[in-house]
């Protein structure tokens, strides 16, 4: 892993911190204020530049100021089912997640969430049915879908295909990249964006197997993700040892 000496400042942090800080980075309401501060410190230590093109690109994609989605009712149901607040802004994806600890919708499964997941599965079965993309449910709604499908591999796979088909205006490339890597690792293949880290028994984080490391930052840049070295540094500082 590439990591500056300053990364050592965060070593020894607990697994929970990784998850909570991740929530902070993506703008999830469950993130505690302290975690937001921790994420900020790590960002400074690892040289994460929130004025970078990747960050601005993700933020621009998530801009909802135009209120230009078509299905408010579905959006509200998705946000509610995913445990996202109606007014929560969509934060930037940090470019990593830990295998087996990836973020999913918060809170216990409930009747509305179960019904919504069933609806998504029905949409997945019908290729003619429009998938809830940005123009339908807004950026926050798309993030909610991304969180909701995380626990269901088959649904995740369909979601990935639908997101790819919909294109970069409708589906955030960073989320597509992270989801594809997650599914590849889950299927025993190598990842291609370097978004998946595995945690050893001693808590150490390591990059899960990666294809074509030579061009990984090219792919990450195209997907609107920060450079791999920067991400690994941040990930280690947050939750690795």
């Amino acid at each position: 892993m590439q990591c500056s000496a300053q990364c050592g400042a965060g070593r020894g942090a607990q697994r929970a911190i990784t998850a909570v800080a991740f929530l902070a980075v993506i703008g999830h309401p469950a993130a505690a204020q302290g975690a937001t501060r921790a994420a900020g410190q790590v960002a400074r230590a690892c040289g994460r530049d929130t004025t970078g093109a990747w960050y601005r690109r993700q933020r621009a994609w998530a801009d909802e100021s135009r209120h230009d989605w078509s299905d408010d009712a579905l959006r509200s149901a998705l946000l509610d089912a995913a445990g996202l607040g109606a007014s929560s802004a969509v934060g930037a994806l940090p470019g990593f997640e830990v295998v087996g600890e990836q973020l999913t919708a918060t809170g216990a499964d409930s009747g509305p969430r179960t019904r919504l997941l069933d609806s998504l599965r029905a949409l997945a079965r019908n290729r003619q049915a429009p998938w809830p993309t940005r123009s339908v449910v807004g950026a926050a709604g798309v993030r909610a879908v991304w969180l909701l499908v995380a626990r269901d591999t088959a649904l995740s796979r369909t979601a990935l295909h639908r997101m790819m088909e919909a294109g970069p205006d409708e589906s955030p490339p960073a989320a597509v990249a992270t989801l594809e890597d997650r599914l590849r690792i889950g299927a025993g293949r190598k990842q291609i964006y370097g978004t998946q880290l595995s945690r050893a028994a001693d808590g150490t984080l390591a990059l899960a197997p990666l294809e074509d490391r030579e061009h990984v930052d090219l792919r990450r840049e195209a997907a609107g993700l920060p450079p791999l070295g920067q991400t690994l540094c941040a990930a280690r500082a947050l939750g690795g040892r």
Binding site: M164, D212, A222
Partner: protein
């Protein structure tokens, strides 16, 4: 450059950009009338960092890149935007189809999801083999590399391509602004990014076969014999490198 067929009896090296063609007999006693000819695109005149001259980019962003010290053609989908033909489309269309270029342009715009680059000095291919090597580098939506063939002056064409997001080889037809699935390969091949592979299309009359790394992966009977230009094919935001493009024309 790799010679891709043992059936080659004449080697024709086209030096693109100046239009010179060198014919080199490679097998004594070959009968010219029945001989196969291999045209291998030579990138010697192409300049790294610039648009290729050996292939005419019609849709998408194509650039000459270097890979391990040798020149390759890169379909750079990072700059891909929906419905965006390559710059200077009218001039390029005129260069390959002359007065008939307007219909070509209209049709090509309908296929702007699919970057294509036309081999400048292969005016027509009807029978034989088309081969290339490809290396997939990236693409969030798609990771494709394919052979363009049977490109007509109205913009219709056929392509056989490998798709790294689906891990398969598929033959597609593009007619009148509409893309249609023709046939999928027999099995999936999870190719690693950053590795070179060979794709070959073989046409003999209406018999079509495709090979991936020398393995037969697709067989199909075309509705009609092919006759048209050939080139490189990609899809949306794919980043794919191409090398060793060779066309072996055989007598019908």
């Amino acid at each position: 450059m790799t010679h891709l067929t043992s059936r080659t009896t004449l080697l024709v090296v086209a030096t693109f950009g100046v239009g010179a063609v060198h014919v080199v007999p490679t097998a004594a006693g070959a009968q010219p009338a029945a001989a196969a000819r291999t045209v291998q695109v030579d990138l010697a005149r192409d300049r790294a960092g610039h648009e290729p001259v050996s292939f005419l980019p019609v849709v998408g962003h194509w650039v000459v890149a270097t890979d391990a010290g040798r020149k390759v053609i890169l379909a750079d989908g990072r700059a891909w935007k929906r419905g965006q033909p390559a710059g200077g489309l009218a001039d390029k269309a005129r260069a390959i189809y002359g007065a008939r270029h307007e219909e070509f342009i209209d049709n090509v715009k309908a296929f702007a999801y699919f970057p294509i680059a036309v081999a400048r000095d292969v005016p027509s291919f009807a029978n034989g083999d088309i081969a290339l090597r490809f290396k997939m580098i990236g693409g969030t939506l798609d990771r494709c590399a394919g052979i363009l063939f049977d490109l007509k002056s109205n913009g219709d064409y056929l392509t056989v391509r490998f798709n790294g997001t689906e891990d398969n080889v598929v033959l597609w037809t593009f007619n009148g602004g509409r893309r249609s699935f023709v046939k999928r390969g027999t099995e999936n091949f999870p190719l690693e990014l950053g590795t070179w592979h060979e794709l070959r299309a073989s046409v003999h009359g209406t018999a079509f076969t495709a090979y991936l790394d020398g393995k037969l992966v697709l067989e199909h009977t075309l509705t009609a014999p092919v006759s048209g230009r050939v080139g490189l094919w990609s899809k949306t935001d794919s980043m794919s490198e191409f090398a060793d493009f060779a066309v072996t024309s055989a007598a019908r």
